[in-house]
């Protein structure tokens, strides 16, 4: 006890952090966020040919140019369409898999989670080149759908994880009660199960959407000549033709994706808070 009081680093007992831990925490947070702050700054710079710091002047004039840029808009449209379809597929497949794993006991049940996680856990080029070689081997032409199929494959796990966690938290008693009271399986699904898992579906869906929205490594292998927004940005980074438009697009993407992600995290946190109280 004495040594703990005397010590200048009493952190281990949980009261206050040592200066070293505090400094490390602040340092890591700065490291995470200073680059994002610069994205904000450079969207307003008057300079068009370099990334001079401090910027010579600030302007708003790139914003109208960026949001009317036809190349950017075309790739944005493709990206959104792909992300919507991939998310829908991920929601269907992920929910089915979660329901099966939750209610059933069958051989290889543990393997399912592992299998679904694999496309995210293996290095990105593995999934990419694997799909590419299958496309090549079977002479499938590159299209919209080759991108969607790749994206859906690695998005399934986010929906699956969220929905499975929700199933485990809510338990099966409501479903049994509904059936006992004479509802058939479809009524039970519509009136009991769906409302119960809706926020988990929303959270999983948002995360799947944002995963698809900025995926670039797998897409490079499955897109052929098509340009999704991340591929467009990547090409702009390789050969900058229009830096101001790229800068503004970068800022808009950060803003547009941050809000749904924070919302999804809130949904996940809320449900895990309320889920713990009854137990």
């Amino acid at each position: 006890m004495l040594s703990r009081k005397k010590s200048s680093t009493p952190g281990l007992s949980g009261e206050r952090a040592s200066w070293f831990i505090k400094l490390g925490t602040i340092g890591a947070l700065l490291f995470l966020y200073i680059p994002l702050a610069l994205i904000f700054l450079y969207a307003f710079t008057t300079e068009t040919a370099a990334y001079t710091f401090p910027p010579p002047g600030l302007t708003l004039k790139w914003f109208p140019q960026a949001i009317t840029n036809p190349d950017m808009l075309a790739s944005l449209q493709l990206t959104v369409e792909v992300a919507v379809l991939a998310t829908l597929m991920a929601i269907i497949l992920g929910t089915l898999a979660a329901a099966a794993v939750y209610r059933g006991t069958f051989f290889g049940k543990e393997t399912i989670s592992f299998l679904l996680l694999l496309p995210l856990a293996l290095p990105g080029i593995v999934t990419g080149i694997a799909l590419r070689s299958a496309i090549g081997l079977m002479h499938i032409p590159f299209s919209y759908w080759t991108i969607v199929i790749g994206h859906a494959t690695f998005c399934v796990v986010t929906v699956y994880n969220n929905v499975l966690a929700r199933f485990r938290r809510t338990g099966g008693s409501q479903i049994e009660a509904s059936m006992d009271l004479g509802a058939n399986s479809f009524q039970t699904f519509w009136h009991i199960i769906l409302p119960n898992i809706s926020s988990a579906l929303l959270a999983g869906g948002i995360l799947a959407f944002s995963l698809s929205f900025d995926e670039v490594i797998v897409t490079t292998f499955t897109a052929g000549q098509q340009k999704t927004l991340p591929i467009w940005i990547f090409s702009q980074m390789l050969k900058p033709r229009n830096r101001p438009v790229t800068n503004v697009t970068a800022l808009l993407i950060v803003l547009i994706t941050a809000v749904p992600i924070l919302f999804a995290q809130r949904l996940i946190n809320q449900s895990s808070d309320t889920g713990e109280t009854p137990e």
């Binding site: 281990l12 952090a17 925490t25 995470l32 293996l122 593995v126 070689s133 994706t257 995290q265 946190n269």
Partner: protein, 301 residues
């Protein structure tokens, strides 16, 4: 009609289960496992260098090509980079994870947790792009170093052989910094989870038995947090192995596994060689996962 179907399914739970399980299972077996199988198959084919066509005949020649010194050095370069990035991330992540798990109030905890997960899910490419702004010659880092009169040190560093380059934006050091930045959240979260699970009573027991805070940290907390570090390292290591964006944007001409695979399948159309190349990171990751499981990393995920 619906009622009859419902009863029919209710009385046959195995059939219901099969109906639920089959669509995702078929999807993953056909699309994903099928693709991996075709990747393996392709790695045993070879490219006819005159016609530029893939010849669908069995050969081990493509794998033999991997053993050429130039290709071996690509594997080494990538693996060493992945190890360094993992090591750096573990060190940067630890204090923050430790603070979240042990000291932060409930509200602070929620806030910091969001602060870490937001970069994890938000645009990977934009976060890479932000380092273009920082590392470039006229960027903020050079500006800052000039102000604190350390620009001489930067120039000296850039003249060093392996780590240097024309500017930080075109150097192995640049690649290293950007990788460490991009994958950092993947390291913070598992370490935090592992630290969260260290029972308070254990820490108290250690100090009651006379251990100094430093001893408790070294002998109790650090060993218990280690599976979390290993779990995080799975991501940092695997993601670094499989990335071609960062080496393309911040590297010079020396290849990493990702850039090599991309250029073999793209410009030269040599899918067999690209496929054989990919077996490298797959093999490395399988070994890595086996070691990680022995170290108890999967409990910390």
């Amino acid at each position: 009609m619906l009622n009859r179907l419902s009863t029919y399914l209710y009385l046959r739970p195995r059939l219901t289960l099969a109906l639920l399980l089959l669509p995702p299972l078929i999807w993953f077996v056909v699309v994903y496992i099928g693709s991996l199988a075709s990747l393996l198959l392709n790695s045993f084919f070879y490219l006819n260098s005159f016609t530029g066509q893939v010849v669908h005949k069995f050969t081990l020649g493509t794998y033999a090509e991997l053993l050429e010194p130039a290709n071996l050095s690509i594997f080494w370069r990538t693996t060493i980079m992945a190890a360094l990035v993992t090591f750096a991330d573990a060190i940067i992540a630890f204090p923050l994870s430790y603070y979240i798990a042990r000291f932060a109030s409930k509200r602070m905890k929620t806030f910091l947790y969001l602060a870490v997960t937001l970069p994890l899910w938000s645009s990977y490419l934009i976060r890479v792009y932000s380092w273009n702004l920082i590392l470039t010659k006229e960027g903020i880092l050079s500006w800052f170093l000039q102000i604190i009169r350390l620009d001489g040190v930067l120039n000296w560093f850039l003249n060093l052989p392996v780590v240097g380059g024309p500017s930080l934006a075109v150097s192995a050091t640049g690649i290293f910094i950007v990788f460490a930045y991009i994958w950092l959240p993947y390291m913070i979260l598992p370490i935090e989870t592992a630290l969260e699970r260290v029972p308070k009573s254990l820490v108290e027991a250690s100090s009651d038995l006379g251990a100094s805070p430093n001893q408790t940290f070294r002998n109790v907390i650090l060993p218990l947090a280690f599976p979390g570090v290993v779990a995080g390292s799975i991501f940092t290591f695997s993601l670094t192995l499989g990335d071609f964006i960062v080496p393309t944007l911040f590297g010079n001409s020396s290849y990493f596994i990702g850039t090599a695979v991309l250029s073999y399948q793209g410009t030269s159309g040599d899918i067999p060689l690209a496929a054989a190349f990919t077996m490298g990171p797959i093999a490395i990751m399988i070994v890595y996962l086996l070691i990680a499981r022995r170290l108890g990393a999967f409990d910390a995920l």
